[in-house]
């Protein structure tokens, strides 16, 4: 850092400053920029354009670590996300031995460059859970408020699926789904036999070519590598499908490597801009705007608000209710896997398909008849995956247990016989993951750690999150379902079968599923919520939040499609309010 620290104030006055370029920020940038507003987008990481920067179609041997993970890429060397569970110089802390695992992407487009593309609408019941089971809070909006936006993003971004007429898994405007793979047919057949629905998945991957917003070709090449981000823009990433098109309108100034420090406010308590540190020159900057739209991730947006204290907002911005940081919750998760002996020695063919599952199981039971209040969906995996680091690890547990070509061998071994075994077992694995709704609680939260700052001098978050019996019982139910399903398909459990009361039935730590939400929740009562039903701060009418922060509850669905729909709705509201000179 230079000896003489100066704060550089940009003279330009923007209509909106957007903090973060993931799903929420990207959608806000596209909607506001295409409405002709002048926008500044601050992104804490570097530039990233999947067309140029994706590791798509690299072979395993092109990585010296063969695709293994590092702390820089916890999902492996080819993955499309920079950083993850830890970032050099940017710590976070925990109260006692509580466990929150915090994934942070630092790049244009954020974690949407590698996400699972599972694009599920919330259903009517998902907005009114308190009315149904008395827990948590109802949303101030209902499905009818958000449905038009789901329809619009289906058409704008592209999603495949099927209209099934399910009561709480709404139909959409879908591209055709890909046919199930072989192991998925096993899953479906077994599901049918135990009354478990298995239907086409709903992923934002283009099974038919589409155009980018504002123009430009997009198509899928069926390589199953959406996690690496797509050079052909064949899946939804905020970088390729929203932010870069927004930049092409000419109305967006994109500032990368810009780590937001505070939302600035004036004597009237209104936001005037954002201060940030430029990671390239380590200098302090300020940008000014009529509105500030936070989209930094549920926890980073809460952190920004809590760090934006002033005489008018002594408890942090938008926090007179004291709810900012509270009600932090993630999807629940538990998994199990097995091997299908019937699939040993399979015929080889290219079964990559799209990146992710071709079938899934939406929540199918009535919680009133169960001992836990909220549901879960099931994701499936398996088949011929590209060999990467870890491939063929622990072969003794297969060749010591299952006959190879009608011959029982000793566990382990070496030589030509061992090579035969590796070929014999390839492609016979199947895995499943339950992803469920946790109940958002006031006492599961993040807050500013009073004594720790990151390397930029920004006070960091301290987490205090936990699960209750509701989530543990749900995980138990997941495990029982998985075991029943694996048994029904003739599979033998190879992992995840030993979980039990001793480890909460394999329930992942909160945060591990990477669906953080609830920290800046919306509501009708300004005393019990930070935002109104348009995700506009009750206390500061020109501050908005469009990431997972506004979520009152999380549903048994992945949250990205709803982040996008809510961000579009909020952004259209901002355009409208600006026209009316209300903000």
């Amino acid at each position: 850092m230079g000896d003489n620290l100066q704060v550089k104030k940009q003279p330009k006055q923007y209509d909106a400053i957007i903090v973060g370029s993931g799903a929420g920020g990207g959608m806000a940038a596209w909607v506001l920029a295409s409405a002709g507003l002048k926008i500044c987008v601050l992104e804490a990481g570097p530039m990233f354009d999947p067309k140029k920067d994706s590791n798509q179609l690299k072979n395993p041997w092109e990585s010296p670590r063969r695709g293994a993970s590092t702390k820089y890429r916890p999902f492996g060397d080819f993955d499309g996300c920079y950083w993850g569970w830890e970032i050099d110089g940017e710590p976070y802390t925990h109260v006692g031995d509580t466990k929150w695992e915090w994934w942070r992407a630092r790049m244009l487009g954020g974690r949407t460059n590698h996400w699972g593309r599972i694009s599920l609408r919330f259903g009517p019941r998902d907005f009114k859970r308190k009315s149904i089971d008395g827990l948590g809070e109802d949303w101030p909006i209902g499905y009818e408020d958000i449905k038009p936006y789901y329809d619009k993003i289906d058409k704008l971004l592209g999603v495949f699926g099927t209209n099934e007429g399910l009561p709480n898994d709404p139909d959409g405007i879908f591209l055709p789904p890909p046919k199930p793979r072989l192991h998925e047919l096993f899953v479906k057949k077994a599901g049918n036999s135990i009354n478990l629905p298995v239907i086409p998945s709903r992923l934002s991957i283009l099974t038919k070519p589409m155009q980018l917003p504002g123009g430009g070709d997009r198509n899928c090449i069926f390589c199953a590598q959406c996690g690496r981000s797509c050079k052909f823009y064949g899946d939804f990433s905020s970088s390729s499908v929203l932010v870069l098109p927004a930049v092409r309108t000419g109305n967006v100034d994109l500032v990368t490597n810009a780590m937001a420090r505070e939302v600035l406010t004036n004597n009237e308590g209104l936001a005037t801009g954002v201060s940030y540190i430029n990671k390239d020159d380590m200098q302090e900057y300020q940008v000014s705007g009529r509105t500030v739209v936070l989209a930094a991730s549920a926890c980073e947006s809460a952190r920004l608000l809590l760090n934006s204290k002033s005489s008018r907002h002594p408890n942090g911005l938008a926090n007179s209710s004291n709810v900012v940081g509270k009600y932090l919750h993630d999807s629940t998760g538990a998994d199990m896997g097995g091997i299908i002996p019937e699939l040993f020695d399979r015929k080889r063919y290219n079964e990559d398909g799209v990146g992710g599952m071709h079938v899934y199981t939406p929540w199918w039971l009535d919680n009133k008849k169960l001992d836990f209040p909220r549901g879960y969906h099931i994701e499936y995996g398996g088949g011929f995956g590209m060999p990467v680091y870890g491939f063929n690890w622990g072969v003794e547990n297969l060749n010591g247990r299952f006959q190879v070509k009608a011959k029982q061998k000793q566990p382990g071994g070496y030589g030509a016989s061992l090579k035969e075994d590796y070929r014999y077992f390839f492609g016979a694995h199947v895995g499943m993951a339950g992803r469920g709704e946790a109940v958002a609680r006031e006492d599961s939260y993040c807050e500013i750690d009073p004594s720790v700052v990151d390397k930029y001098g920004i006070p960091v978050l301290r987490f205090n999150t936990s699960y209750s019996d509701y989530e543990i019982k749900q995980a138990k139910h997941m495990k029982e379902t998985f075991a029943e399903l694996l048994h029904a398909m003739g599979a033998v459990i190879t992992w995840g079968g030993d979980d039990g009361p001793h480890n909460n039935y394999g329930l992942h730590n909160p945060g591990n599923i990477i669906h953080e939400a609830g920290t800046v929740r919306m509501g009708s009562d300004p005393k019990r919520s930070a935002l109104n039903k348009y995700s506009q701060a009750h206390d500061c009418k020109n501050v908005f939040c469009v990431d997972g922060g506004p979520f009152v509850s999380q549903a048994d669905k992945n949250i990205t499609w709803t982040i996008l729909a809510l961000s579009m709705r909020t952004s259209e509201y901002i355009v409208d309010q600006m026209k009316k000179r209300a903000i």
Partner: protein
Amino acid sequence: MDRRKSIKTLLIGGVATTMLADACAPRDEKNQEQKTSTATTSETTGINRMKEEQDYMKKLLAEPNFFTPHEMATITVLADIIIPKDQVSGSASDAKVPEFIEFIVKDMPDHQTPMRGGLRWMDIESFKRFDKAFTDLTSEQQIQIVDDIAYPEIEYQENGKTVKRGKVKPGMQQGVAFFSLMRDLTATGFYTSEIGVKDVGYVGNAPNQWNGVPADVLKQYNMAYTEKELKECLSFDKV
């Protein structure tokens, strides 16, 4: 990486990334403070890396070899015993597995002590039995030792009962643990090489039109797409 984690890793490519959230836990590496972070494609490997990763890779590649020439020779002999040339494909050393192991122990320092100590265990055992280092033994003598350490004991549940398979001679357990790690590293290195990918028959990673499971495979497993699926799902005209 333990067994269940490695099996989860097998699912890469066929499953949503969320499922792999804990497939490979991040490992401790020395902190590197960086002042800039600009992403570009690395000149050394062709893999896109952010600035911090490039600096880490440069540091790794500048490090001297971890293994001594003698250790590398032992690794090469063992790797080729585990994965020899056969009618289908070449050997571990043909696929440069020893070089992969040299890199990976620098990238994953947790492997260093088990590998170094295990290699020394091999030589001590060789001296005890034949008064020579492992690499100086005849093939028959090498296999005599390998046969004592190549078959670990396993345990699993079947029909509510615990089944145990394999039997390890007393005093050989440490050798078995080392050989299991050596087998895992050799196999993962081999089957992620160009030779190994071809051997195991992974034929994806290329632009494709997914048209469903081939008809003969459906028939083999007595499976069929439903009318609903055939009507709703994406279909490409057969060439």
